[in-house]
Structures are given as structure tokens and as C-alpha cells.
């Protein structure tokens, strides 16, 4: 298991937003985290990225406890945030170099790894362009390339397609799936868009702070007696799928 979350509960004041959530993520597997707004996805991401401190339970990243060995655990984690976290005025390469430095990489190493990632994402020719001049889809690809610079074993993406057009959304989704397959990365892709999830993906459905389903999409549908994931999602959460 790349990640193992054990009995996580979290409350803001009196309000319980995550209740006893446990799951494991497997290397080389695309995991979709589905949940309507307010399901607790952002809180779960906050905990996985250590922006929120764990209150109950523990999370192990590649065998390292986020509570006890945060540095070791964070080294294995790549994150793409929902909102742009690039410096728009800096170039693509400068953005990558900042991230690499934060992970302790030297300038030379940062450049070599950055170019390798940019090449993979077909963006090497844009390396010296200011991020501001890139379109939404390209910016997202830069963010994924950046998240992979320090060679993590787990990639977290929090609604990465928000604000993108349909074609860019599909392209990004395909890219990440290819990464997963070719690099053996464990991917956790949070979304509320059912069309981004395939039936043979591992699907986790979060609703009102509880994990209602965790398994292969098709198996969940069979267990619920529904035709497809959209119907499953609707029957479990009462929310309309988009």
C-alpha cells in the first residue's frame, strides 16, 4: 500500500466533518474520490497534505507515519491543488525550480528533472514562457509536472480539472492515467464529475464525512444494483451527478 489511512476523524469545533474514515491506496492504480460539495473531500486533502493536523487516527505514506515522521512521509507525496499554485509572472522553469529547491534539490538537478518532466508533458518548448501566457490546460500540466519533480510515490489531485474546457479535461485525465500505468504511481483524483471516472477505477465515495463505498467501480455498482456510477452516486448520496 502506498497510503494507508486508519480511522481518521476530524472535527471543526463541534462539527464532525470526517467520521472514522479508513482506506488504502495501491501503487499503479487510479483512485477516484467522489463526493458532493461539503462531503469532506477538502478536509481529507488537508489532512493528507498536512495542512490540517490529524486529530484522530493516522495516515501512513509508504510506511511512514504522517504524525511521527512527517518529513519522510511528505517526501513521497506530490500534490496538485484545486486552485492555481503557480507564480503567474515567473516562467515555467522558474516555478519548477522553486518547487525543486523546496525539496532540497540542487539547481542542476532541478533543471535536469524539470526538463525531463516538461518533455514528458510536451511543454519543454514553453519552459521559458511566463506561466501567465499559458492556457488553463497547460498550466495544469505544469502543476502536475511540478508535483512529480521530487519523484513521489503518491500523486494527489484536488479537482484538477476545475475551470477547464471539456477537451482539456479529458486530455488531463488521460495524461494522469498514463502516468499511473507507466510509472506505477498511486493517484488519488478528487472530483465531483462522474464522467472523469471509469468503471474499472478504484472508487471511493465520501458523503457527509463518511466513506460510503470503497472498491472497483463496477463492483460497487453491482453491490448497489445500479446500472452505472452516476446512478450509484445518486442512490448513495442523494446528490445529482454532474
Amino acid at each position: 500500500m502506498t497510503i494507508q489511512a486508519n480511522r481518521i476523524s476530524f472535527r471543526y469545533g463541534d462539527k464532525l466533518v470526517l467520521r472514522d474514515v479508513s482506506f488504502g491506496l495501491t501503487p499503479g492504480c487510479f483512485h477516484a474520490l467522489l463526493g458532493p460539495n461539503g462531503a469532506g473531500k477538502s478536509t481529507l486533502f488537508g489532512l493528507l497534505t498536512r495542512l490540517l493536523a490529524l486529530q484522530q487516527g493516522d495516515i501512513q505514506l509508504a510506511g511512514k507515519s504522517l504524525k511521527k515522521q512527517p518529513a519522510e512521509a511528505m517526501r513521497r507525496l506530490g500534490v496538485v491543488f484545486q486552485h492555481n499554485a503557480l507564480d503567474l509572472d515567473l516562467t515555467v522553469r522558474q516555478n519548477l525550480q522553486y518547487h525543486a529547491a523546496l525539496h532540497g534539490l540542487s539547481r542542476g538537478e532541478a533543471r535536469a528533472r524539470g526538463d525531463r518532466e516538461l518533455e514528458r508533458f510536451e511543454l519543454l518548448d514553453r519552459a521559458n514562457d511566463a506561466v501567465r501566457n499559458l492556457n488553463g490546460g497547460h498550466r495544469r500540466r505544469v502543476e502536475i509536472a511540478r508535483a512529480l519533480l521530487h519523484e513521489p510515490s503518491l500523486l494527489l489531485l484536488d479537482e484538477p480539472t476545475a475551470g477547464l474546457d471539456v477537451a482539456s479535461r479529458q486530455a488531463l485525465n488521460r495524461h494522469v492515467r498514463a502516468l499511473c500505468e507507466n510509472e506505477g504511481l498511486a493517484v488519488l483524483w478528487a472530483t465531483h464529475l462522474i464522467e472523469e471516472v471509469h468503471e474499472d477505477d478504484r472508487v471511493l465515495i465520501l458523503h457527509k464525512g463518511q466513506l460510503l463505498a470503497d472498491g472497483a467501480g463496477r463492483a460497487i455498482c453491482e453491490a448497489e444494483g445500479t446500472r452505472d456510477l452516476a446512478e450509484t452516486f445518486h442512490s448513495l448520496t442523494g446528490a445529482g451527478s454532474t
Binding site: 518529513a71 486552485h83 499554485a85 503567474l88 515567473l90 523546496l102
Partner: protein, 273 residues
């Protein structure tokens, strides 16, 4: 984590700050307008009103411009540090802060490095201001320009840590106007930046003691004495101690969930910039 990792991280954070600074160089120069207005206009108007006697570190009678120059250096750092600390947790820097906090290096190290990087940009502004002030006959000794460097860096760290602390913990002060009214102006006016404290003592012993308890007073004095190549252990000691306490509190008590760093929606379109 090895020392080299810390070093690369330190250099990377500084480099980014300088790149950002270069991108926003017009803002850098416009920020100089404020202290220069004080030096040129305010000081000209007040020099006749305020007689300045011979007080350390000065050895002769000095002009009012000469007196307030170190205080205006403090003012530059005060505005920059507060604005910088606020932007770390509320607007412009949110994205870069998220990336910063994903680093495996310890958070106190990351935050202090970030505050220091903002301090180094403040130093650039202070030197530019001192250069213009020299043209206006504020002429500290040549070595004073070097001696003032650690003092300014220390003060910027102190004020940056203070800014971060209040931006994290005082919900009411999440915009710059609030910070200006309730933090920057009281700190600036209740200090020795614009008038020697003996003047304040004559006017009101209460205000005098408030000034004495204001760390910014000692920060200004540390800058003033360093600029004139004199050692003021009290000013330095108090500034260094307050810096240590505030930096510890600000970094150990830092909670992303108390800021907009975690927020799922940014507060303004600017936040995405």
C-alpha cells in the same frame, strides 16, 4: 535531511523572492514614496517646531531630517513586513505558500526563511532610501551603512514574525487597513521614530512608558545606533529577544487552517494571481 537540502531550499526561497521583486519593481519604487514624503515634506514642516538637543548617538546638533531618517528606515521595514506577512496567509502568496508547506523540511525553517527573504528585499529599499536621504544631507558615517545591515535584518524578522502571528491568530486583522490602523500606526507613533522620547516624557509620562514598552522603539534605536556606529546593548538586546520570542510563537503556533492557505475558495480573484 542533509545540510545541503536546507541550503538549496534556503537559496531557492531567496531566489524566488528576488524574481518576484524584479517582476514588481515598480511597486518597490513606489513604496519609497511614503518615507521620502516624510523626510522631505513632513520634516521640512516640523524642523522649526521640534528643537532637537544633542542626544546619543549624535555628537552635535542635528537636523530633524537626520533624526527621523532611522525611524523612516524602521517604517519601511514595518510596512513591508506587515504587508508581506499578510500576503503570506491571505492573498498574493497563497499559492506559493501551499507549495512551500508541501516541502518535507521543518515548517519553522520554511517560515523563517520566507520571512528572511522578505527582509532582504526590505534591506534593498532601506539602502535606496538612505541613498536618497544622503542627497538631502542626511550623512551617517560610511561604515554605518554596513553596520546597519544586521540591525535592519533583525528588525524585519521581528516585524515579519509579528505580522505572521497576528495574521494567523487575529481574525479581525485580516486586511491591510485594519493592520494599518491598529498595528502599524500605533507602533510607529508610539515610538522614538519621529521624536526623541524625552520629548514624550515631558508631554505625558504615560505615553512615554507606552513608547518604552513598544518593541518598535528599540528596533528604531538599534537601527539609529548602528547607523552611527555606536553599540546600544539595550536596544539590540530587547530587539533580539523580542525577535526570538515572536519568531518562536509565530512558527510554532502557525496553523494553515486559521488562514486562507487551506481555504477551498480564495477570497478574491487576486488570490489566484
Amino acid at each position: 535531511m542533509k545540510v545541503a537540502h536546507y541550503w538549496h531550499c534556503f537559496v531557492g526561497i531567496q531566489a524566488r523572492e528576488w524574481l518576484r521583486f524584479w517582476q514588481q519593481r515598480t511597486r518597490f519604487f513606489s513604496a519609497l514614496i511614503r518615507p521620502l514624503l516624510w523626510l522631505v515634506v513632513f520634516a521640512a514642516g516640523f524642523r522649526a517646531v521640534l528643537g532637537v538637543s544633542i542626544i546619543p548617538p549624535y555628537q552635535t546638533y542635528i537636523t530633524y531630517e537626520t533624526y527621523i531618517a532611522p525611524g523612516l528606515c524602521g517604517m519601511i521595514v514595518l510596512f513591508n513586513s506587515m504587508q508581506g506577512a499578510l500576503s503570506m496567509v491571505y492573498d498574493r502568496e497563497l499559492g506559493s505558500m501551499r507549495v512551500l508547506l508541501m516541502s518535507p523540511l521543518p515548517r519553522p525553517f520554511l517560515l523563517i526563511t520566507k520571512l528572511l527573504s522578505m527582509g532582504i528585499v526590505s534591506i534593498g529599499q532601506v539602502y535606496l532610501f538612505l541613498l536618497v536621504a544622503r542627497l538631502l544631507d542626511v550623512e551617517p558615517p560610511a561604515w554605518g551603512y554596513l553596520a546597519v545591515l544586521p540591525a535592519v535584518l533583525l528588525v524585519s524578522l521581528m516585524l515579519g514574525a509579528f505580522g505572521l502571528l497576528i495574521a494567523t491568530w487575529v481574525k479581525q486583522l485580516e486586511n491591510f487597513a485594519g493592520v494599518m490602523n491598529f498595528v502599524i500606526f500605533p507602533m510607529f507613533f508610539l515610538s522614538s521614530a519621529l521624536y526623541p522620547l524625552w520629548k514624550m516624557q515631558e508631554a505625558s509620562p504615560w505615553l512615554y512608558w507606552l513608547c518604552q514598552f513598544n518593541p518598535f522603539t528599540h528596533a528604531v534605536e538599534a537601527i539609529r545606533f548602528a547607523l552611527y556606529l555606536q553599540w546600544n546593548p539595550a536596544a539590540f538586546g530587547i530587539t533580539a529577544t523580542v525577535t526570538l520570542v515572536l519568531a518562536t510563537l509565530a512558527t510554532a503556533g502557525f496553523r494553515p487552517q486559521r488562514t486562507r492557505i487551506l481555504a477551498s475558495r480564495p477570497s478574491s480573484p487576486q488570490a489566484q494571481e
